[in-house]
């Protein structure tokens, strides 16, 4: 089932055109990695999918709703099925982890018990910690817990593992893969770690000069003779 359909997406900041006619689509349950150099437009693209950034031209359809002309009530309803992890993720600094979970549970009107989320993400030792006092890895773990709190159909991750040690990266990915397999949720993420793309992503989209230069299955790219996605990436940018 197609959940996102993007055609001819264009976006400019003043005279600088960042997206120049980008096409994209994804089906339920896919994990898609979006790669490209710094400033290629990855974050702009993701923020448009997050429904927080307007665009100039093109069509963006999410869960069957075209974002152009969508009402605020429809948008709020749409956002219930979308969750995000930003880089860097920031929440109210003077709230504790458990309080943040309760607040976002109210936002998403989620039925999930806070205790269950704390158990699932092994947050017990930090449930009374202030978010701002956590290390980068724990902050991302809490961000993921908050993102999964709503059992979203789509989760968008903007460089979720940047700056984390290999152990914490592995921990976060185990949650993402688990969510994808058990709930059938769709994951779209950007990352600069090509090993993550190779290990976990079903498809790769390379954004270059404002368009999707490549949008293929990861295995199809590797079957072309590249030793790794990293080699593929370096040969294309």
């Amino acid at each position: 089932m197609k959940i996102i359909d993007v055609k001819g997406l264009e976006k400019s900041y003043g005279n600088l055109q960042v997206l120049k006619g980008l096409d994209f689509e994804t089906n339920a349950g896919e994990i898609i990695g979006v790669i490209g150099m710094n400033g290629a437009g990855k974050s702009t693209f993701l923020e448009i999918l997050m429904t927080i950034k307007d665009y100039d031209r093109g069509d963006v359809t999410i869960f069957g709703h075209n974002l152009k002309g969508i009402s605020m009530d429809q948008l709020i309803s749409l956002r219930k099925d979308i969750s995000v992890v930003l880089q860097p993720t920031q929440f109210y600094k003077s709230l504790k982890v458990e309080e943040l979970l309760r607040l976002f549970k109210a936002y998403y009107q989620s039925d999930i018990e806070i205790g269950q989320i704390i158990d699932d993400f092994q947050l017990e030792q930090h449930r009374k910690s202030f978010f701002e006092k956590l290390s980068g890895g724990w902050k991302q773990k809490v961000s993921l817990a908050i993102a999964f709190l709503s059992e979203p159909k789509l989760i968008i991750l903007d460089e979720p593992t940047t700056g984390l040690d290999p152990h914490m990266r592995n921990v976060l990915w185990s949650y993402i893969v688990d969510y994808n397999q058990k709930k059938g949720g769709t994951v779209i993420l950007t990352t600069h770690y090509m090993d993550e793309i190779e290990l976990y992503c079903d498809k790769v989209m390379l954004i270059d000069n404002g368009v999707n230069k490549i949008f293929e299955k990861t295995e199809d790219i590797l079957s072309l003779g590249y030793r790794s996605i990293n080699d593929f990436y370096l040969s294309k940018v």
């Binding site: 956002r79 993720t89 920031q90 309080e99 936002y107």
Partner: protein, 246 residues
């Protein structure tokens, strides 16, 4: 959802030392301290210290809460990315805004009662229920006006550092040109000129008049209403213009 947001907004306020010091601690302490120094003086209109400065310090608390815990807090959330993260959540913006407004009204009302109670205990302020209720009603109206002005002013800031410098600066300007410390009438002419274009000076004087049942619609009152309305309308234009930019 509104109740949950309001609960956590109030918890966050209680944990922010910066807000607590400037809104709940400094004004009452200054009110008591100045009373010890100038408690026997008589002020414009034949008012005593307690008649002049009880309403003044209630307005000072209101200013601190509305400009720091409401306005500055918005810049902090904007600059740290919290606003963006909340914006992606399925929570209507009006819920967040309404919670911020109710939070401010609760805290400023607490300030209203606190200063009043200090006045009664320390300076023998008499409690008149009718005056109290009329003053509170007018106080809520001023709260609404100041919330709009604060929202407009802080919508111009994206950077926390410049917002902080601005906040500290306007606190000083308001303290000295709003008639909250030494009487403006005793200050140099240029301070009096600044005071006349400072909306907080006019808010303060209108509230002192209402508090003491001395409000008469003379030139001074119309000037005060005019300055406040001018700034209020400008604030509405700024808010509307900023919305259009998004």
């Amino acid at each position: 959802m509104l109740a949950t947001q309001l609960k956590y907004d109030l918890i966050m306020f209680s944990r922010e030392l910066f807000y607590l010091i400037f809104s709940i601690i400094v004004p009452p302490v200054t009110y008591i301290f100045m009373g010890q120094l100038f408690g026997e003086d008589t002020y414009a209109g034949g008012l005593s210290y307690v008649e002049m400065y009880t309403p003044s310090f209630i307005i000072l608390i209101t200013f601190s809460v509305v400009f720091f815990a409401f306005g500055f807090d918005q810049v902090m959330n904007r600059s740290t990315g919290v606003e963006k993260r909340i914006g992606i959540s399925p929570v209507p913006q009006r819920t967040i805004l309404l919670s911020g407004i109710i939070k401010s009204i609760i805290i400023t009302s607490f300030g209203f009662v606190l200063i009043h109670a200090i006045g009664m205990v320390v300076y023998n302020l008499t409690f008149n229920p009718i005056t109290f209720l009329v003053s509170y009603g007018f106080f809520i109206l001023l709260n609404a006006v100041l919330l709009v002005i604060s929202s407009a002013v802080y919508s111009l800031f994206r950077d926390l550092k410049s917002a902080l410098i601005f906040s500290i600066l306007i606190f000083q300007v308001v303290m000295f040109t709003g008639d909250f410390s030494l009487p403006v009438a005793q200050m140099p002419t240029f301070i009096q000129v600044i005071a006349n274009i400072n909306p907080m000076y006019h808010v303060n004087h209108l509230f002192i008049d209402v508090w003491n049942s001395q409000l008469i619609f003379n030139n001074d009152t119309w000037t005060s209403i005019g300055v406040i309305m001018l700034v209020f309308v400008a604030a509405l234009i700024v808010i509307r213009w900023n919305r259009r930019k998004v």
